[in-house]
Subunit: 438 residues, 2 copies
């Protein structure tokens, strides 16, 4: 994209109403603009980030056999009356009446809709297990929306729902999802640590929150730093084998990790001192087994192996996609701006033409840009170099390809890595290879 | 995807409440399920179609320099009060009050939001032109939703908005969008003919609807069949050149095309008889120049070349993405089911294993499937052949790769083209090449 023609408005001043760094940087880097309290428009660069995250989530869900569907944002209140949650849900639910005075709502979550759809179609245990997920906008009418997209009202979320014929199957599904989530976060370039969460009346250990370490996190967290070094992408778990899933789950669970609510001083002391990680964490995902809660209340059954009706066992699996945009920035920025992980960045690199109008610079930049116009942002504005550097650092492109008149004459560019500040003097081809293979 | 493990529920019976063929086939082929009046859940196959369409729309928008953004579904009523449309809009607008009794609405369209966002950022004529678009869910509270996704309440739409400094620029943008739309529909495998539509008080000829010919269309249409033979993908229009755009627009406009409202018997007679196409059409897109209507009412200006404030000229550019799923089926089906155009189909081909359990058949099918598991549906169910053929025809996969025990022994398969019924006896590699290169 050519910066001169694009809609990527950056701000020099820090917006006064933004309390946390991710909110400030998202406004300053031109990722979002607020259009109503807790409601945002995603500008081109912000949308690219949102979509990059969603695509990685999707690939990792598909990889473990989950299937994507898409439910409407608007739901009928009748379904929630069937499950018994309509009256129980608080004022965070956006309740709506249509022109015929029928009660609707903007879905804050989708257990009812998916249980209804699946219940109408599935007849036999042979059709299970099924994991269905969607990535869709949801609404929670927060009393005091704040922190930008971290606690907005309309938010983008991946929500998945597992259906199994029995507890054993549901446990396998749960573990499969945990692996999928760990792989997802690793690919996103952040570490999100799974920590046991409340299961309510259901009990057991099948509820985990995933938290990203960042100073603005809402919970205190304590965990074994060994978790940060495990490579889930290289782990040879066969997700179709119960034994493999069990081994994987036991391995994860063997490391200490807890929020302050569940923290256990005694267990903490058994973690070697040099591996103790303590700080604050932002919740970005939650996986939760809840058995037959909805299949019983909504009376959904399939025929079991002996022909008798069985209420399928369910779990729900959520990732806050729009929240992650903020959380990643909270975990990855410096004084100058955002530092995007490679897989999340809106552009792989920015090409900084330091002397627009100089034929050598222009020719070299155009040739570079033509190699991958979708992956490069080309700063072809006739601004001074200082302003270009500041915007590049603010927007957080993983690489800056700096083209000045002196180097250009020799076919050379300077390559800067945003995360480390390292600089390399390279030929055009060397720079291209380094950037595009990252 | 393996059919035995997937959520692709087909129906043998025709649902009694579905009045038109696309609605019936979308239910029978397992593309959608209704969850409330005029509100649908998109099942895996339906979502793939929706996304294939959206991706082609996106590529063709990006190609002409439009930039994608994403606005929230929920808007503040305040913006609509600024433009003066809040009271004027009828009961189709879903009006909502939040927990603080503030007036919100589910966006039926987004002129106000985009004008507000752009107005806050753009300062100078030098930053124009801009075309911003989104593909997002919208809501119109139809009094009597019907025809499935063709006239639903929650619908998926691409809406784009052009901003230019003057009329001449706005005309260029309009023509660029018309070309982009013609290319989009050609790639989708349907012909949508642009027809002059009402411009209201603005006048001029810068309003076109695009209609797909189908017996259930809501308008009568008359057009010159020569339009069906023009190849927009091969047209060498340079969209950055006004002269090219003008030539292109004059060429399109030189062919007769009109809905019954605008039909002119005299002009019709000048179309050679053998080229006259007459029938009914479904509106799937609308492009519309409306000048300074919103920039004036919302008081948005940029500095013109002489420094004086100028209200930018606008146009809006819509494509009904979810509606297109229905419209394409209306235009492309037979007694047995859907006939998907190649670029839209949820799967490139279905592999029909006629004898699951037979080692030769199973081995050959698995080998075929492994070549492109994302693009093939593998019917590995142990049903009888007749049921498999019926489902394959119903779901409308462009190709059927039929694997029976006799052929399999010789490494041969039968390839059936859904659209024509042609059958080819081929080796496995020949079949693969034919299917994957289509």
């Amino acid at each position: 994209m050519r910066l001169s023609r694009s809609f990527l408005p950056t701000l020099k001043e820090t917006p006064s109403d933004a309390q946390i760094v991710s909110h400030r940087l998202m406004l300053r880097a031109g990722l979002v603009r607020q259009t109503a309290s807790g409601i945002y428009t995603w500008l081109p660069a912000g949308l690219k980030v949102l979509r990059n995250i969603a695509n990685i989530v999707r690939e990792e869900q598909d990889r473990v056999g989950a299937q994507e569907v898409l439910m409407a944002t608007i739901q009928s209140a009748d379904l929630w009356k069937r499950s018994g949650r309509y009256d129980a849900y608080g004022p965070e639910m956006l309740r709506i009446k249509d022109r015929h005075e029928r009660e609707l709502l903007f879905g804050p979550t989708n257990e009812e809709v998916i249980t209804d759809v699946v219940g109408q179609e599935l007849k036999s245990y042979k059709e299970l297990p099924q994991v269905l997920y969607q990535i869709q906008w949801k609404f929670r009418d927060e009393i005091r929306p704040r922190f930008g997209v971290m606690r907005g009202r309309e938010f983008y979320m991946k929500d998945g729902y597992g259906f199994d014929i029995d507890y054993k199957g549901a446990v396998d599904t749960y573990r499969k999802m945990m692996l999928s989530y760990l792989r997802t976060f690793q690919r996103l370039g952040v570490r999100a640590v799974p920590m046991v969460a409340d299961t309510g009346p259901i009990g057991g250990d099948l509820s985990h929150e995933f938290l990203i370490l960042a100073p603005t996190g809402e919970s205190g967290v304590f965990y074994d730093g060994a978790l940060d070094t495990l490579d889930w992408l290289a782990d040879p778990v066969d997700v179709d084998k119960s034994e493999d899933l069990e081994k994987f789950f036991n391995n994860v669970s063997s490391y200490y990790a807890a929020t302050d609510e569940k923290h256990d001083d005694k267990a903490w002391e058994s973690v070697p001192v040099e591996r103790r990680r303590e700080g604050r964490g932002i919740e970005v995902a939650h996986i939760f087994y809840f058995g037959t809660k909805y299949t019983k209340s909504m009376d959904i059954t399939v025929a079991g192996p002996d022909g008798a009706p069985v209420h399928p066992e369910m779990g729900s699996y959520g990732i806050g996609v729009s929240r992650l945009v903020g959380a990643i920035i909270e975990a990855s920025h410096d004084e100058a701006g955002i530092i995007w992980p490679d897989n999340v960045a809106p552009f792989k690199a920015v090409i900084l033409n330091l002397k627009v109008g100089d034929e050598t610079c222009d020719t070299l930049c155009e040739a570079l840009y033509a190699k991958a116009p979708e992956r490069f942002l080309y700063d072809d504005r006739s601004d001074r170099a200082g302003a270009k550097f500041a915007d590049a650092d603010l927007m957080g492109h993983p690489w800056q390809i700096i083209v000045g008149p002196r180097g250009a004459k020799e076919g050379k560019v300077e390559l800067k890595r945003r995360a480390t500040g390292e600089r390399f003097e390279l030929t055009v081809n060397e720079a291209l290879t380094k950037v595009l293979s990252a």
